[in-house]
Amino acid sequence: MRSLRDVYHSVVAKLPDTQIPSCRTFVEWNSFGCKFACLAEGGTVYLLLMIAALDLRWSVAKASHGRVLWEVAKLLRAPDDSCERSPYCIGSCSQCCIQSPVT
């Protein structure tokens, strides 16, 4: 399997379930998943909870390419003076982590 379409045609299309998505939807879900994973590696999984709660999922998923989100993750991992508001995000994530740790 060389690409996502190969995975779709060899694995997903052969599933017995009738509610399998179209190939285009499958590729889109993968793209969104890569972007969310990129964010989660910078701000832990609690950042995804914040995105879901603030109803920013669609905006974040449609952010152009993965470059913007890669920069966001980099800023959250190692905040510098260029972005003043990144400590707020980190504080909220750590607050969630302290109050409800996911194991």
């Binding site: 995975v7 909870l49 603030l54 990144s86």
Partner: protein, 165 residues
Amino acid sequence: MQTHINPSDEESYAQVTGKNLRYHPYREGEGQNDHHQGKRNCKRNGRVKAGAAVANWGIGEKMAKTSNMSCEAVISALAVAHPLRCDLDTWIEALQDLRADSEYGSFLVDDSMATVLQRCQGSTNSFLKGEFISMLSRVQLAIKCQRQVLSLLQVLLVYLIFLSL
């Protein structure tokens, strides 16, 4: 070369299609003699379209827009969730409900492709839980697919190393 549309053409187009015309990026009077002089005002090296082709353009009712969110805009949007200002407790309660839910346990146990695809579609009643499960499932799907693609690449790499020996 015609660079602009006559007002009569615009009215007839609007009557027939019910849409307004979309103009090409030249002001009136420009582009008529520029081609012969080798001078173009269009920064993207564009050429003046013929009047007949321009007349086919119209503005749609629902225009698609691409996102231009920058890095700081994303962080500013997320920074709204300040621990002292925002209802962080509600989210933590939702997360604790999710942990107590039986569906959350299936993340660790059942990670087959059919189950992951079903969760990606999002069917939970609660808005927050549904969104969160959907996002996590998409991450799970992306990892599963990348692993399958990568595994074949590893086999190819081993095969190439074997051939080179």
